[in-house]
Assembly symmetry: C2
Homo-oligomer: 126 residues x 2
Amino acid sequence: MTTNTYSIQQISEMTGLSAHTLRYYEKIGLLTEISRDLSGYRQYSDKDLSWIQFLIRLQETGMKISGRVRFAELRSQGESTISSRRELLESHRDEVHAQISKLLQNLKAIEDKIEIYKTMELDRNP
Amino acid sequence: MTTNTYSIQQISEMTGLSAHTLRYYEKIGLLTEISRDLSGYRQYSDKDLSWIQFLIRLQETGMKISGRVRFAELRSQGESTISSRRELLESHRDEVHAQISKLLQNLKAIEDKIEIYKTMELDRNP
DNA sequence: GCTTGCTTTAGAGCGCGCTCTAAACCTTAA
DNA sequence: TTAAGGTTTAGAGCGCGCTCTAAAGCAAGC
């Protein structure tokens, strides 16, 4: 079994989050029980890494910090919260679907406007 | 020809933007040449309305205020900027495409996690 | 003429999500 | 043993995009 550990800087490079942000996430409860080495430096595990990467997906799909904190709290309470976590994710999934269809509608309107501009350009340069 | 005019409150109700926000948008240059009645009250036209609605689409697709201001500046310079406006929108359209595919990727990861939770629920309640 | 409710302005305030600072401590190489 | 560069903490600061306040003016109904 591989038990890799990573420094805060390595995690920063792998995730694109700054070291400042990683400490901030820990402070507000998005990351819990990050272990420390003998001199008090944070040691991130592969499990920590994939959790951070999942947090980033939640963020990128528009889940606010408060929602992510709620999810992290459930996770830190162990297996008994699996159903609540599933429900939370299902509800978020529905929001992402809505988001995507809104985006597609707006995309259509933008594309329509591009076509209008093209027509206007032809009319001005016949 | 119908030349409807609308009060700031009516526009607020039609667009979902607050009156405060509408004045703010004017101050920063997103809205230009909004006409006034005899007592100095703003009178929005149908053209103003549809411009505001398009601005909202740009915002909802992630274009920042600075980008929208740039677009509004081109628009206020008249027909000679049609090509620049088309290019700006084409570049934004590409960003929206990228945004949507990122969202679809993240959606997939969320759905996978939901499935994992379902399996865990079955394992705990066999 | 008074009240109610709309509108105006300039400018202050705010919530979110970081981002940075300062001062101290640790590690490694020269 | 010293210098360079990584890490720690508490807490301050910041940029974005609004959001609200205060004081005044205007409109319409009683």
